[in-house]
Amino acid sequence: LAIEPVPESWARLGGRGLLARILLDEVSPTCEPLGPANKLIFAPGLMVGHMLSSCDRISIGAKSPLTGGVKEANAGGSTGLQLTRLGIHALILEERLGGELWLLHLSPAGARFESAEGLAGMGVYTAAERLRERYGKKVAIALIGPGGEMRLNSAGIQNLDKDGVPSRIAARGGLGALMGAKGLKAIVIDGSQGSTPPVESKEAFRKAQKEFTKALLAHPQTTVYADYGTAAMPRMSNGFGGLPTRNFSAGTFELVEKISGEYMRQVILERGGQGETTHACMAGCAIQCSNVYADQNGKSIVSPLEYETIGLLGPNLGIGDLDTIARLNWEINDLGLDTIEVGAALGVAAEAGTFTFGDGEAVLRLVGEIRQGTALGRVLGNGCVITGKVFGVEYVPAVKGQAMSAYEPRAIKGTGVTYATSPQGADHTCGLTIRAKVDHLDPKVQVALSRSTQINMAGYDTLGACLFAGFGFAAAAESIRDLLNARYGWNVGNDILQVLGRETISLEREFNRLAGFTTAQDRLPEWMTRQPLPPHNSVFDVAEEELDHIFDFGQ
């Protein structure tokens, strides 16, 4: 265990951008992802630590066990905030710990490893409860489930929400498998005796914070998010013919009404009890897009129930029942796995005839096989590409080994460009385009749209800002600049979001290049350029040459 000063070239970055910088500086791009040379890195974003609404996210990264390339996955909850209260700019986990299972405890008194043997094989919900009993209710915890211990490539790292529930998952790219390979079950962060990070100019910071918060609260979208969350999306995607259905074979789902956010809100309100339509994942969040979905007796099934999970475990599997989706969500969370990757793997398995689309009980049994660690369960837990290979399925919805999220790239082609070209692999959070007022089927306008969106998103991920905080930042355009200058004593300009975004993507692409990636990996699966998608009967036809030049910055 070593505490080191922050090198100059790392000080001006945080979150996703800092991860890419550290990976380039310290990790061999050709290393075996689950081997001892890979490092698991936790980096709070640049704005984290001040309870700015929706700006306390933690970025976690490594060379991805799933994609073999650069990886950043971020999450809300309290991990980012508490790390900054201990003055930690980045936490880098290096050598594999020997023997049994461990946990790392961080506090102002220092860092120590303790045995976590009693938690082996335990789901994240029970494990988090035990840890909170032992270390107190004020700690933040990042932990893995049985999936990470089994080193499944769909395993993520879960973080506690403001209520102590381990529901905020840095899900994508198999980072939980790496944590398992390091022999680490959990990181307990006790920042209660720590302190808020220093602010260079308190007055200017307070002023910028006030402007940002005011703009965020005044934005009409903040209310919509509070009421519907991301679950407003099924009907929108369906309306554009872009809701992935039955393993990405159609873009509309006949039962969309029963999985819609509008319907979900009604159900939560009618059932009452522990259900909540409006819920915050981070302390101090003004948006509160999260929810608690309860059963018919008002007992919580899962929190939150989000669009991507609804999409991949619902229409993608032919399932039109929120109760079933919520139960699947809880099980997959408890295993510590990414619902997108597992949902896509299950869709591929259904394509192969393992079960019939729409059979929720069969899906629950298959998820049970993951928990048991059977051969079939491990295949599914390793994601959709491995599942496709094992079952000989051509129609696998993935880029760079990572499953697509719930936007069909043949109907929302700008998001298809993002899937194809993001250094992260297929990931909507790297640049979603569905809300742009463009013809989503026109191949000619998508590259410029995806590029701008990807740059902005990489910027927000480097700040530690939730993408939804962007409403406030868009309405109070100078507040990002002012907050950073006040916090760090910098003198950055109004384009700092794009500056950070471009730098981040450039660093990530360099890591991938050194890892052996070429333009051949910046493509959607070939079948999506050939197989028409109903209802528009469209294929992905954005010119490959345009994809190859998307990040020629400065042109």
Binding site: P220, Q221, T223, V224, D227, Y228, G229, T230, A231, A232, M233, R235, M236, G239, F240, G241, E257, G261, E262, Q266, Y307, A411, H428, T429, G431, L432, T433, I434, R435, A436, K437, V438, D439, H440, L441, V445, A448, L449, S452, T453, N456, M457, Y460, L467, F468, G470, F471, F473, A474, P535, H536
Partner: protein, 95 residues
Amino acid sequence: LGNDLIRVTVHLHTILQRPTPEGMLRQLDVRLAPGSTVGDLLVTLEVHLPVDALLLAVNGRVAEPDQTLQEGDTVNLMPAISGGTSIINPRVLLI
């Protein structure tokens, strides 16, 4: 007279749903004079959100308010940034 009207199916999203005694209404058929536009539909439905704050889709494709509607069209009226995760910088739209 009714035979001359065209009929379109409208999907109302999130805050545009209508409270009714039978519950929230989010899908309805609307009859309009031939030649009516999406903008006319918004007036008929008394949708008061500014057009900038709406995403309009006709038969699954993004539409402008001046687009003429045809018999049997499906229209989705969506508050512009409901759901999902990414924010479009306004400048992006000018490209």
